[in-house]
């Protein structure tokens, strides 16, 4: 498996009136081809920022990429301007969000919106550069190319070949009665159905990477199971890699091939899902695992992690987890540990494991 995306030393800050917050602190991560990588972390750890950075939708201001690169199929996406990013966004890198009601335009029928996605793909295949909608152009200050490609006109009756393609994509995501759903508006569908429509639209482009930011958090448990199962199946059919952002470690367990754990703007551990659970190396990962309720109270002793996440506005020296870590050593407070591969395909940022400078004794 080769690297589809290689994030290298990515540093993203948010400038606000309260100060500068470092959302991603020199983060490095790989996404391989045909794998589902789950990025897990609690609120404020930077996982959503990472997803937005990869797809190039960071709100700019207040977010700023200070340094680092995101290499996708050999091209550094950071260096590309907005205009060139459009070659990739929506076509090779697709994204689905948490709240599907705000991802779908509520005033247009579902069928029309899928048709637009398909038309964009067709026009790309014809060799024309993809045209963003007027709204996207205005909000992201994108200059439209001089050669305008065929875009979809809302309100026109969909028929024939286009309609068949739309129905096929809806069938792919197991939506019942697709010919009726085409005529519906987003608010008439349930949350689960809307999310499936989003997946249909995203995958109709046959992207190399699908970024899913908490796609099932707003859904019921049974609907979540259906949607996750669907995503997993479609991954193999469409040959896409999936970057799944989630706060739910259990969800990551169920569908991921690899898992990366984030804390306060750092990736602290990344490994194959089985290795992560059988041999969690970073104390935060261990803490996270031992505070999940996995049985009845009489059998399970929940061990919450003491303390709380540090304030990212004040610059922190050393390992950000040091204030809560039971294995903290002096060097943890001096310098942040590097994110290195200590075992086969298992990377961790911790002085307890494999750092050159510093002893391995935990009793300092």
């Amino acid at each position: 498996m080769s690297n589809l995306v290689k994030v290298e030393n990515l540093n993203v800050c948010y400038e606000s009136r309260g100060g500068r917050v470092t959302a991603l602190d020199k983060v490095s991560l790989d996404i391989k081809t045909n794998e589902l990588l789950a990025v897990v972390g609690e609120s404020g750890c930077g996982k959503s920022t990472l997803a937005l950075a990869i797809i190039g939708l960071l709100p700019n201001p207040p977010a700023r990429v200070m340094s680092g690169e995101i290499v996708f199929k050999g091209t550094d996406l950071i260096r590309l301007g907005q205009a060139n990013m459009r070659e990739y966004r929506g076509t090779q890198i697709a994204m689905i969000f948490q709240e599907p009601l705000s991802s779908l335009n509520p005033v247009y029928k579902v069928g029309d919106q899928i048709a637009e996605a398909i038309m964009v793909k067709r026009s790309r295949e014809d060799g024309n550069p993809p045209v963003e909608s007027e709204f996207m152009q205005k909000t992201h200050k994108i200059v439209p190319p001089s050669k305008v490609s065929k875009s979809f006109r809302y309100g026109k009756r969909i028929s024939g070949e286009l309609k068949d393609e739309i129905i096929a994509s809806l069938k792919l995501v197991r939506i019942p009665d697709p010919d009726q759903v085409i005529e519906r508006y987003p608010f008439e569908l349930s949350g689960g159905m809307r999310q499936r429509v989003m997946i249909a639209m995203a995958l109709s482009q046959e992207p190399a990477l699908l970024v899913a930011d908490e796609p099932t958090t707003a859904l019921d448990v049974t609907t979540q199971a259906q949607v996750l199962k669907l995503m997993k199946e479609l991954m193999t059919k469409v040959k896409t890699s999936v970057l799944l952002i989630t706060h739910d470690l259990a969800v990551a367990c169920q569908v991921a091939d690899r898992v990366a754990v984030m804390y306060a703007g750092d990736v602290v551990e990344a490994a194959n899902v089985f290795d992560l659970f059988s041999k969690p190396l970073h104390p935060y990962t261990q803490g996270l695992l031992s505070c999940l309720p996995t049985g009845s109270k009489s059998k399970v002793d929940l061990k919450p992690i003491p303390g709380s996440v540090p304030d990212l506005r004040s610059p922190l020296v050393g390992c950000k987890y040091a204030s809560r870590c039971q294995f903290v050593m002096k060097q943890c407070l001096d310098r942040k540990p590097d994110f290195i591969e200590t075992m086969e395909n298992h990377e961790v940022a911790c002085y307890l494991h494999g750092e050159k400078n510093g002893t391995h004794s935990a009793n300092n």
């Binding site: 609690e42 609120s43 349930s190 689960g192 159905m193 019921d220 448990v221 049974t222 609907t223 979540q224 199971a225 259906q226 996750l228 199962k229 997993k232 706060h247 739910d248 470690l249 259990a250 969800v251 367990c253 169920q254 569908v255 991921a256 899902v273 089985f274 659970f277 803490g287 996270l288 695992l289 505070c291 999940l292 309720p293 996995t294 049985g295 009845s296 109270k297 399970v300 929940l302 061990k303 919450p304 992690i305 709380s308």
Partner: protein
């Protein structure tokens, strides 16, 4: 064991107005709670689980007398609290509630200490000193520093706010506390802190809990009994351990198997087979509401609403063909 609360055929219907006429008699109803009878045993925790639209939140609010039930009875600590004669102030000394969203649980303009003392002033009629002492004790019990008394909620984190809400609920020393999704809005590590706190408080104050949640893992951890709701009806009731080990109602089976387990070797999620969506609450399917989605549905299912029957001591299931899941 004696019951602390019992509901008998409790229903709550919301009328849906047709058209613009404000005086028209509504002909359609949202059957949020459609005849629920259950028992909460003293000193135990019951988890009422279900997905959105099943009516568990409405059930909780009806029991807490925040909305008037349409019909049915609620017997709390031996007395019926549904008739007009009940003084709700009396009830609230023994029955309190904690809500899902810690952000909206506290008035942003009122100091933490005053928020915690609110039920004491309103229900007990204590003087300022007694209230202050009780607030101090409550803060200590939930693990917050004493100087929180003068803080405003805006200065607290989500987990801290939830602790304040808990402190407020236990300050009048109630017997039953209803917990409406107490940790759904919190991160995993904070959730663990709050769950442990709730367990500790239950021991210290001999509390009974009614936990409303859609999170099966939390329900399994915290509760002794479980009640599964679907579209306003109670479909399964019994000991949590029994139901988790061997769920009998087809919906419960689907629900529990959909709950993601934090174990990559037990990939239950990818084997789940459930089709369809939650039915409309205004126009539910006739007969058993789950029948359009049920893999075992047959004959009587679309005609008759099944009643709760005992499949083993204390384990009740509402299904015509419950023997199919044995």
């Amino acid at each position: 064991m004696e019951p602390i609360l019992q509901t008998t055929d409790l229903t709550k219907y919301f009328s849906v107005q047709r058209g613009l006429n404000p005086f028209s008699k509504a002909k359609k109803f949202v059957r949020a709670v459609d005849g629920v009878s259950m028992t909460i045993w003293k000193g135990t925790t019951i988890a009422v689980v279900g997905e959105s639209g099943c009516g568990k939140t409405t059930l909780a609010r009806t029991i807490a007398l925040l909305t008037k039930p349409t019909s049915g009875d609620i017997v709390f600590d031996g007395r019926s609290i549904v008739n007009g004669k009940t003084n709700s102030k009396q009830v609230y000394r023994d029955l309190q509630m904690i809500f899902q969203d810690p952000e909206s649980s506290l008035d942003p303009n009122i100091k933490v200490g005053d928020s915690i003392g609110e039920p004491l002033e309103g229900l007990m009629g204590w003087n300022k000193n007694e209230v202050r002492n009780a607030v101090e004790k409550s803060l200590a019990a939930v693990g917050l520093p004493q100087d929180s008394v003068d803080r405003l909620p805006g200065q607290l984190s989500g987990g801290q706010k939830q602790r304040v809400a808990i402190a407020r609920a236990i300050s009048p020393q109630p017997k039953l506390v209803i917990l409406d999704e107490p940790t759904s809005a919190l991160d995993a590590s904070v959730q663990a802190q709050i769950l442990r706190l709730l367990l500790q408080l239950q021991k210290d104050y001999a509390l009974s809990y009614m936990l409303i949640t859609h999170n099966i893992a939390v329900a399994e951890y915290l509760s002794d009994y479980m009640a599964v709701m679907y579209s306003g009806n109670l479909v399964e009731y019994g000991l949590t351990e029994e139901i988790m080990a061997k769920p009998r109602h087809p919906y419960t089976i689907a629900l529990i198997s959909s709950a993601p387990i934090a174990n990559p070797w037990k990939r239950n999620l990818l084997q789940v087979e459930i089709r369809g969506e939650v039915p409309s609450a205004i126009n539910p399917p006739s007969g058993c509401k789950f029948n359009p989605r049920c893999p075992y549905a047959d004959g009587a299912c679309s005609r008759e609403i099944p009643k709760l029957q005992e499949v083993s001591p204390g384990h009740l299931v509402a299904c015509h063909f419950v023997e199919k899941t044995a």
